[in-house]
């Protein structure tokens, strides 16, 4: 269990630089908080189990003077058993409430393709095919394997596939959304940090799935406009 401790320290040290835990949008930020919450609750459970585990082993392992000992018979204990049924339920309720609310917030109607026409949103069409990404912007500009987004503007991706199922994943910016050949899926988020972020295909899609990557660049709105004009 020493290893666990070691790697956990490593985790705490580098936690903020792991992409999933380094959000660049309110969307990803919500998930990050949820991850920390669930991790905290679960560590509590793990630590309790480990304390009991180590304690019982230390105290009750066979020693040379206990070789012939026959322990007292006991079949169980109602109260204790109720305790470890009810407490986990409580912990799960604490976790379930934000789970459901966040899931509702992030899984907006948009991801099912029924979002209304919101004037404020930047709409970008994403076409996935083995093994590249094609991004079409509102003025018909096209870029491949490179997605450019304006800072602090809500964007709506409308994704379709030319062949098999792919999955759009830019961990700093948002969770995954699968891309299907027979239906359109949507993803809505607002980038709030400038910079370049990695993106990857996250659904196995054939020979070069590993190479089906894209880069996302978040620019100031004005730089975004000039970039579009250069396309």
């Amino acid at each position: 269990m020493k290893k666990t401790g070691w790697i956990l320290t490593l985790f705490l040290l580098s936690g903020c630089s792991l992409r999933v835990l380094d959000p660049a949008s309110p969307y990803a930020d919500k998930i990050t908080r949820l991850i920390y919450l669930s991790f905290g609750i679960m560590m509590l459970v793990f630590v309790v189990v480990m304390i009991l585990f180590v304690h019982f082993l230390k105290k009750f392992h066979e020693t040379s003077d206990r070789v012939d000992e026959i322990p007292v018979d006991e079949s169980g204990n109602r109260k204790l058993e109720i305790t470890w049924t009810v407490l986990p339920v409580l912990l799960l309720v604490i976790l379930a409430v934000p789970t459901v609310t966040t899931t509702y917030q992030l899984t907006s109607g948009a991801s099912q393709g029924e979002g209304g026409q919101d004037k404020e949103r930047v709409i970008i069409h994403v076409k996935a095919e083995q093994f590249r990404w094609e991004f079409t912007y509102e003025g018909g500009e096209v870029s491949y394997d490179k997605l450019v987004l304006p800072l602090d503007k809500e964007v709506e991706l409308r994704l379709t596939s030319e062949d098999v199922i792919h999955s759009f994943w830019a961990p700093n910016l948002a969770g995954k959304i699968d891309v299907f050949p027979d239906k359109e899926t949507r993803l809505v988020f607002t980038a709030n940090k400038l910079g370049d972020f990695q993106g990857k295909c996250a659904e196995f899609c054939g020979s070069h799935h590993a190479l089906m990557r894209f880069e996302t660049t978040v620019m100031e709105a004005s730089a975004y406009e000039t970039w579009l004009q250069d396309q």
Partner: protein, 636 residues
């Protein structure tokens, strides 16, 4: 290299041909020189549960070596960024992880558990065999047949390559033409049939053949877990059968269940996971049962909270059917569906938690003996709890948008499947080895195996959580320096080699145990509590000439404590009839022929194989092995 018929072949296939020929030749020579053929024929024709169980485990170990080598290739290729190890990039890599996953689940984990059930369940019940010994032999040979079909693919340079989940439309003939994924379909179809028969067999055995006085509420927990698992199999496997059949029609006859105008690739995902999620409980529940028995034996205490243990496994089994869509959170099923499945998934943590605490409290105030089986059981508890808590984290639907299909998931399911099923199978093998062979495995080597394996395991899989959080998707054959996952992967590879090395201790142990005049052990080497320890080691074909009468849980233990003997019944009841027959292996053979006909679209072979299978059914309908027994009965 280009060859006639087979086409373009890479060097890995050629190397394995050569190695297989050498090892195969050596084996043939050895079997002949040592005059082992009669023994082999005896096992091929047997319907005895102990022998069939032993064969299940032997074949599982064989396939474990195969799946393990796949794992080593995966880990070697991923050891450093931008790696080019041997041939394992792109398509080859995809084949390797597909065969690794499929082999490990269907041809390692399943047969290990079914093998242990075969050996231990009848003995624990006080039964002389399974209810249907002949059907049991059929199940076993169907498993072997399916496994051979699946593993053959690689040798003909056509290994399946759409992942063990075979998602459409990638698994359709449009995107993966060629025989590769046909092998997947037929391998699973035929071995799955065998699994369904085993489930029926186990359920009937448990329902009908318990010793007098052994009410369900006095039954040890391994048979209980077997009962629940078998019921899950009975519901879940037919769903897989249907899904594979539809996929086959899409691939072979141009139907469009999983594509086209009316079909949808999402249908496949639903069908697959309606099978697939119960499947992971099918794999872990028997391991829970094994651990319950072992922890109780080596704490010298009865299991804590027996009733809630039974209720928990039943609940886990039921809930297991209501969570499949947690594998599909990113499909866009909508917020309502995602929330509902998130909550049902979290609920499963409750009965699982109850079990963990009951195991812990079984040890409290007991005398905990650190034998090899117990070590594996103890290693299981923290390992599985880690796998369980990451499971709850994955159930948080919104957060799963990040975890999904990343290395976080790879880490999670290895924590549960290796931490649960594989540790459980190892524990069970060390524990029941005396019942299988009459010998004890060496404890010292066993402990070496345990420690290397568990350390290697955590080294391999703990870092993968962080690789996933840093954006590494699963099923990728390479990554770059900028990805920042090098260290995680490098440690992971070292750990994998350590696990590989630990398995050498198992081989050494087997070799040492069987080498020379190591003496046999008596019937009860562990000071056990349940009925299997009242029989000889190894268990004879007819272990209970007089069936013991049971009046409580762990009756044998309390009889020992009170220094009495278990009473025996004078009432003999009809026993399952064991015979010597080569029909099961023949049936498996003709099914394999038929499958190959389909895999390569050779119509004549399909007809030949299909016709033979029908003929076999006719022959079987007219044979009744009970006739002979009746005749004997009349004479006496």
């Amino acid at each position: 290299m280009r060859l006639p018929i087979i086409g373009y072949v890479l060097s890995d296939v050629i190397v394995s041909w050569i190695i297989t020929l050498i090892i195969g030749g050596f084996l043939l020579w050895w079997l002949t020189a040592k005059r082992k053929w009669p023994l082999i024929l005896d096992y091929i024709g047997t319907t005895d549960n102990r022998k069939i169980g032993t064969m299940y485990i032997l074949f599982a170990i064989l396939f474990f070596i195969r799946g393990g080598m796949d794992a080593m290739f995966i880990r070697t290729q991923l050891a450093v960024p931008d790696n080019d190890f041997w041939v394992f990039q792109a398509d080859k890599y995809n084949e390797v992880f597909t065969t690794h996953g499929t082999v490990m689940i269907f041809f390692v984990a399943m047969p290990l558990l079914i093998g242990l059930m075969n050996i231990a369940v009848p003995l624990q019940l006080g039964a002389n065999d399974l209810a249907f010994p002949y059907l049991n032999a059929i199940s076993f040979w169907l498993f072997v047949s399916g496994a051979f079909i699946f593993n053959m693919a690689f040798f003909f340079n056509a290994a399946p390559n759409a992942g063990w989940t075979a998602y459409a439309p990638l698994s359709n003939d449009t995107f993966t033409s060629g025989p590769n994924n046909n092998y997947y379909i037929f391998g699973l179809q035929i071995s799955g049939l065998g699994t369904i028969f085993t489930a029926i067999n186990m359920i009937v055995t448990i329902a009908r053949l318990r010793a007098p006085g052994m009410k369900l509420s006095r039954m040890p927990l391994f048979p209980w877990a077997t009962l629940v698992t078998s019921s899950l199999i009975l519901v879940a496997f037919p769903v897989l059968t249907v899904a594979l059949l539809l996929l086959m029609f899409d691939r072979f006859y141009g139907t469009s269940f999983f594509g086209g105008e009316f079909g949808s690739p999402v249908y496949w995902q639903h069908l697959f996971w309606i099978f697939g999620h119960p499947e992971v409980y099918i794999l872990v529940l028997p391991a829970f049962g094994i651990f319950s028995d072992i922890i109780s034996t080596f704490s010298r205490k009865r299991i804590y909270g027996y009733t809630s243990m039974v209720i928990s496994i039943t609940l886990i089994g039921l809930l297991g059917f209501m969570v499949w869509a947690h594998h599909m959170f990113t499909v866009g099923l909508g917020a309502l569906a995602n929330s509902v499945f998130a909550i049902t998934t979290m609920l499963i943590a409750v009965p699982t938690g109850i079990k963990v605490f009951n195991w812990l409290f079984t040890m409290r105030k007991g005398v905990v003996r650190m034998t090899t089986p117990m070590l594996f059981a103890l290693g299981f508890i923290p390992t599985f709890v880690i796998g369980g808590v990451t499971g709850v984290m994955l159930a948080v639907a919104a957060a799963d948008y990040q975890y999904h299909d990343s290395y976080f998931v790879v880490a999670h399911f290895h924590y549960t499947m290796i931490g649960g099923t594989i540790l459980g199978a190892f524990a069970g093998i060390y524990y029941w080895y005396p019942k299988m062979t009459g010998k004890m495995l060496n404890e010292k080597l066993g402990k070496w195996h345990f420690w290397l394996f568990i350390i290697g395991f955590h080294l391999t899989f703990l870092p993968q959580h962080f690789a996933g959080l840093n954006g590494m998707p699963r099923r990728v054959f390479t990554y770059t320096w900028e990805d920042g996952v090098f260290l995680f992967n490098f440690v992971s590879t070292i750990g994998a080699y350590l696990m590989g090395i630990s398995m050498l201790f198992v081989l050494w142990n087997l070799f040492k145990t069987h080498r020379s005049g190591t003496s046999s052990v008596d019937g009860d080497p562990w000071d056990g509590r349940t009925l299997e320890w009242t029989t000889d080691s190894p268990a004879p074909e007819h272990p209970f000439p007089n069936v013991p009468v049971v009046d409580r849980l762990d009756a044998y233990w309390y009889a020992k404590v009170n220094q009495t003997n278990l009473p025996q019944t004078k009432d003999v009841r009809p026993d399952p009839i064991s015979i010597r027959t080569f029909q099961p292996i023949l049936l498996a053979g003709v099914l394999m022929v038929m499958s190959i006909g389909f895999i390569y679209h050779w119509m004549w072979l399909q007809i030949l194989g299909g016709g033979s299978v029908l003929a076999f059914f006719l022959i079987r309908s007219w044979t009744d092995e009970r006739n002979e027994a009746y005749r004997k009965g009349e004479k006496s």
